[in-house]
Amino acid sequence: MNNTFSLSRFVLLFRQSWLHNTRLIWLAITGYCGLLLLLLLLFQASQNFELRSVEPYQALFVVIFIAGGVICAGSSFTAFRSKEKTYAYLMVPASPAEKFAVELILRVVLFVVLVPVLFYLIYLIEGSLVKALAEGYDLKASELFEFPSLPVHPAGMKGTWLTLFISLLSSIFIIPFTGSVAFAKSPLIKTLFTLAILIIINGLLIYFFAEIANFKNYEPAEKGLLFIDSPESALTAVTWFVVLMDAGLLAGAYFKLKEKEA
């Protein structure tokens, strides 16, 4: 028996999650679609059905995608919220890799795929309804995922910029996902709190080195500080940092799951 990763066991685990949570999943999807449609219609109604720009929709999508993603990923590994659930979960005959993969797919991958698709569908439905109600309404179906106001459009990104964009986007999900394994009680709050502390410490460190230690006026004789001597290399360094941070957090989550006790 393959004790590391078996596709058949992975499918069984996925099926188990689906069968145990069928009602909850349908409720979440129906609730999301219903509320979104209602929200968009109310939004249009408040503008006397004369809203023509897609930008408010885009802003709403970004808010839903980020806030929803953080909440959804932060509520991964629900089994670890109580001792009884933890026993049941840890005793399921599947490997940590299979449990990790199922949770990652259910809480992150499916969210990333489903939420934009459902948002787009609801946007089309709402647009069609408004078109039927208001004369001259032009449904800009293709413009929803175009972000002209952004300095670099996601579709036009290449190389390091694209890597950085994907890594930062992944961090939105990976940080709360890891927090959900690391903290048993109120994981999302604790994760955000920890993150806030880390950001503050980093800010203070930067302030200390730049202002107090006066590193901002440091001018090396030949090249820039270490290997960062141009905006491009700074971008590469930041990208590497984010990529490694994401990979490290995922690895940490996996090992935490493997070592979990009840």
């Binding site: 028996m1 004790n3 078996s6 066991r9 069984l12 099926r15 188990q16 069968l19 145990h20 949570n21 069928t22 009602r23 109580s82 001792k83 009884e84 659930k85 933890t86 026993y87 049941a88 840890l90 005793m91 399921v92 005959p93 599947a94 490997s95 940590p96 299979e98 070592e259 006790e261 009840a262």
Partner: protein, 278 residues
Amino acid sequence: MINIKNLSFSYKKQRKLFDSLSMELTPGSIAGLLGKNGAGKTTLLKMVSGILFPDSGELSVMGHQPAARKPSFLSDVFFVPEEFYLPSTSIRLYIKANSPFYPSFDSVLMTRLLNEFELEQENIIDQMSYGQKKKFLISFALATKCKLLILDEPTNGLDIPSKILFRKIMAGNLDDDQLVVISTHQVKDIETLIDTIIIVDNGSIILHKDIASITQQLHFTNSTVAEKEDILYSEAVPGGYRIITRQRNEESQIDIELLFNAVTKGKSLFNTSPTQAV
């Protein structure tokens, strides 16, 4: 099947719960794990199941290290904790979702046990009483045909007819290669069921014997006097005393409660070492 050597364990910032604990259990028996509150019965069961890790020592179950929680190990072990979680779904869907993880799962047995416990396949688990949930979980555990079944306080929450049924079902549905470990305070519920007694106290095993060897050496009976030359231990009961004496070549029914009290009070009842493996 279960081999424990010099096992030590302590919870964080607490004194050692187990220190150099050793024990061996073989298949084909129903072992009763007894001990006072806080003696570490549940902790020991959790370590054997792999949901708690020992600090040091050797722990091997069917040749596996439980802490590794390999699927090949987990598919042969079923743990019924005292407090458990069951999802909000029907019995039928629960079986459909979970039975494929257990290669020896016996669907016919499952159906029969559900009938015996008067549970319907379409019952929503969430809406069942604690006792009904427990009966379902015990039925599922038996139907998995796992080599090792661990039951922590299985009769808690069961009504009297269900306790009788539990004993009947347990006695009649186990294979020779299975080992059942039952931890309980309610010794009367399992008195006629178990064939091995393990008593845990102060971090060590103070008694580990099979019932046959106990009844070969000890006699349990009533007496009007508490102290006499051959009385090893006595306890006042209405109308006299329950006593333990050396075997008088008479048949007697083991009184586990009396034996437990005698052993935990440090009475020397046996000539052989108390931690002798069975």
